[in-house]
């Protein structure tokens, strides 16, 4: 879904990002600095950086174990990193016991564009995939999408993450998807 972020005047009010916190995880310091300062220019109150998944884990455990206004709100995650990859980190996030960690919106930022990659990221629980190279417009679109269109989380025997189905499309052949109300347990916060 395209979101209009043209520079013409709109009636929509702007977000106040002054208390917003974003964790940027990228092993390449030039790119993580670039994303951080770009987010700062957009008014994001605090950007925290991590050079790999291990450091990112420490930040999340530090900021998000208890729900409060200092929580990190969104993670922007590089995929290919030494020490702990984006995939391993995302798996850890979605498997965590704490609600303030496991429901975290994670925007995967990668140069990989193949359908196989997107499927892998989605199956590990990515909220959004943003294709590099980085631009202010792409970052803004993804952040706005995460804020405006949160998807319900799904837990099945082999998956936990945002609902992977953006559309319910009729399936040709034997449909093994569980779409019926009696197949689901629904929780409202």
């Amino acid at each position: 879904m395209d979101i209009d972020i043209s520079i013409e005047d709109h009636e929509e009010p702007s977000y106040d990002f002054s208390t917003f916190r974003v964790l940027v995880v990228d092993d390449f310091s030039f790119i993580s600095d670039l994303i951080s300062s770009t987010l700062n220019e957009m008014g994001i109150g605090r950007v925290i950086k991590a050079g790999n998944g291990l450091t990112a884990k420490k930040h999340l455990l530090n900021y998000n174990m208890v729900q409060n206004t200092n929580n990190i709100d969104v993670v922007i995650l590089d995929w290919l990193m030494p020490e702990m990859s984006g995939a391993a980190f995302l798996k850890w996030v979605r498997g965590h016991a704490s609600d303030t960690i496991k429901f975290m919106p994670v925007i995967v930022c990668t140069a990989y564009t193949s359908p196989d990659f997107v499927e892998q990221a989605r199956d590990l629980g990515a909220t959004e995939v943003m294709v590099k190279p980085v631009s202010a417009e792409k970052l803004a679109k993804r952040i706005q999408h995460v804020i405006e269109h949160p998807r319900p989380f799904i837990k099945s025997p082999d998956f936990f993450g945002p609902d992977r189905r953006r559309k319910i499309i009729a399936f040709k052949g034997q449909d093994r998807r569980k779409n019926k109300i009696e197949d689901m347990k629904t929780y409202h916060e």
Binding site: S14, I31, L39, M42, D73, A111, A136, K155, M184
Partner: protein, 169 residues
């Protein structure tokens, strides 16, 4: 319904939109917010302004690549995989950087080297030639500030690497 069927049910969690609330909207606010367009323009100007660092950062990465490559050729077997991973990461970083600023030729070579890392066998002289060819053309690309892929010089450099791969691989 027995316990097994109950346990196999899909669980659906509908969460409050606290993210939107944190940006100054009400929890049940239907209004669509936006990121201030002027701030997006400012942010893009900032990204564009950082291009002045491009040459320096590429030089640093190429020096790291060259040093790691040199080490890889003489190191003990136990360290080889780690060093190949490092070369893969440097190439990947170089690709990300060059694509950000539309340096297509550098992007082409760094992607090619990154992909070749998955096949490197250090015992084969042919593979050494291919990696060295990548490093040589990337230095030329930087030093001669070659940006696009279609100039005669760019075509010539791509041909050098292409021939090395075709001949030795």
């Amino acid at each position: 319904m027995n316990n097994s069927e109950e346990n196999n049910k899909i669980e659906v969690y509908h969460r409050l939109n606290k993210l939107k609330q944190k940006t100054g909207f009400g929890l049940n606010d239907d209004k669509v917010g936006r990121i201030d367009p002027k701030s997006i323009t400012r942010a893009q100007n900032h990204i564009d302004g950082q291009e002045q660092e491009y040459g320096l950062i590429v030089k640093e990465i190429l020096e790291d690549l060259a040093a790691t490559w040199k080490e890889l050729q003489t190191c003990e077997e136990a360290y080889r995989d780690d060093l190949i991973d490092q070369i893969y990461n440097y190439s990947n970083n170089l690709k990300d950087l060059s694509s950000t600023y539309n340096h297509d030729l550098m992007q082409h070579f760094s992607l090619s080297l990154r992909n070749f890392c998955e096949k490197i066998d250090i015992h084969k002289d042919a593979h050494k030639v291919i990696v060295q060819a990548h490093l040589d053309v990337m230095w030329i690309t930087l030093n001669e500030n070659l940006k696009g892929e279609s100039s005669p010089k760019a075509e010539e450099l791509k041909k050098i690497v292409g021939q090395a791969i075709q001949k030795f691989f």
